[in-house]
């Protein structure tokens, strides 16, 4: 298998086979919280993509330039959280300046990216899988695109749910969780792909 095919396969596996939400079950909070409308879901996806790409890059740098040379790998979690928190703050300032409408649309969920486990998850996975810098960033970007795909699909489903006839006890969150689990089963079908 040559290099390009490997990379392409890696991207597909990040988005579909190892989808952060449907097969790793990371980042379920924003997935359920911000998936009411397709537009907000998409902008949440963009914000998460941005943060996850930068987080992969910076956590890799922090890990390889600071933690490993000093034998401090046991500080990974805390230093990654530090990096992510700083990044999210930065993204928040950036959005406030450049796109106030997106900023107010994301609302409380923007600072919540700090505690989005998918972001910390991608950083820790990069370390565990021993990815190099390029693969780490690819994992971040395409993992986040997988997250975005999932949340946008879910938002589409939920918009339809709004107008459908749902049995009384299932209205609201129960039906949402059922839909999410059905989608997860569907995504399991990609398992043999890559």
């Amino acid at each position: 298998m040559n290099g390009i095919t490997r990379i392409l396969l890696f991207m597909v596996s990040c988005v579909l086979t190892h989808n952060f939400i449907f097969s790793r079950f990371l980042g379920c909070c924003p997935f359920l919280g911000v998936s009411r409308k397709v537009e907000t879901a998409a902008s949440m996806g963009v914000a998460v993509t941005f943060v996850m790409a930068l987080a992969s890059l910076f956590t890799w740098l922090v890990n390889h330039l600071i933690l490993i040379p000093f034998d401090l790998e046991y500080l990974q979690t805390i230093s990654f959280i530090l990096v992510i928190a700083a990044l999210v703050q930065f993204v928040e300032m950036f959005l406030k300046k450049s796109s106030p409408s997106l900023y107010s649309a994301l609302g409380i969920y923007l600072p919540l990216i700090t505690t989005n486990c998918a972001v910390l998850g991608v950083a820790v996975l990069n370390v565990n899988e021993n990815y190099n810098l390029g693969y780490s960033v690819l994992n971040g970007v395409f993992g986040a695109l997988g997250f975005m795909l999932a949340i946008v699909l879910m938002a589409g489903v939920r918009e339809r749910l709004e107008t459908s006839k749902i049995p009384e006890p299932l209205k609201g969150f129960p039906i949402t969780l059922i839909c999410a689990s059905l989608m997860a089963i569907a995504f399991m079908g990609f398992a043999g792909l890559a």
């Binding site: 600071i66 000093f70 401090l72 990096v83 700083a86 930065f90 300032m93 406030k96």
Partner: protein
Amino acid sequence: MGIAIATVLMAALGLIFGGLLTMAEKKFHVEIDPRIEQVRSYCAGANCGACGYPGCDGFAEAVVKGEAPVDGCKPGGLSCLKGIAEVMGTTASETEPLVARVICQGSRAVAKERYEYNGIPSCRVAAGIAGGPKLCRFACLGLGDCMAKCKFGAIHMEDNLCVIDPNKCTGCGACVEECPRDVIKLLPRSKTVYVQCRNSDVARVARDICMTACIACGRCKKTCQHDAIVVEGGFAHIDAEKCVHCGECAAVCPCNCITIPEVTA
């Protein structure tokens, strides 16, 4: 030694990120209209939503944008109105502050009951069951829907009747909308003389079901020297514009349904 390196490194990392964020904050600083904060400080701050905006912050932003009127915050009262008007550089039109009044005195002692109600404690529910627990179809049901709605703790229930503390009431009107019987009215604060009944039944029926029902006898109208009272639709009305709060009508009312609560109290 290891722990020292770890501590120093983490501190350094924190400092670097902190420094970078400070620089970013300078670069991406957003100018927020300082008037929003000022207007916000004058609002009542209960986030009651009576102005029609999501909370006091939303109202303040709308005022500064020019979308909301400067007198939009009713609960804030006169000081709020003046403050906001000053911030916005306009003069406030002096509107008389309103206060919510209960147009019913049908406590358990005076108003007869149709049945004993032991259901869900909600006026809205009770009102729908066989015409409500009280015989009078205009009566306060006293189950406290308005009390639950009041953000200012101005309403309490006393003997099956809702009582509003005018000192705590801000005139936001939340209770008026909530009441299924329309028993609460917003009246100008200084107008302390009003008819506390709106039963439009004929006198005999009204008198039969409630001791304090207005029977439209017209004695108040005859007594009034200022031509402020009309009897219409089965009960008396006082024209707030003409009324001078002499209280003579209250003195002659055979059913004690006109009162001057704040003066006598």
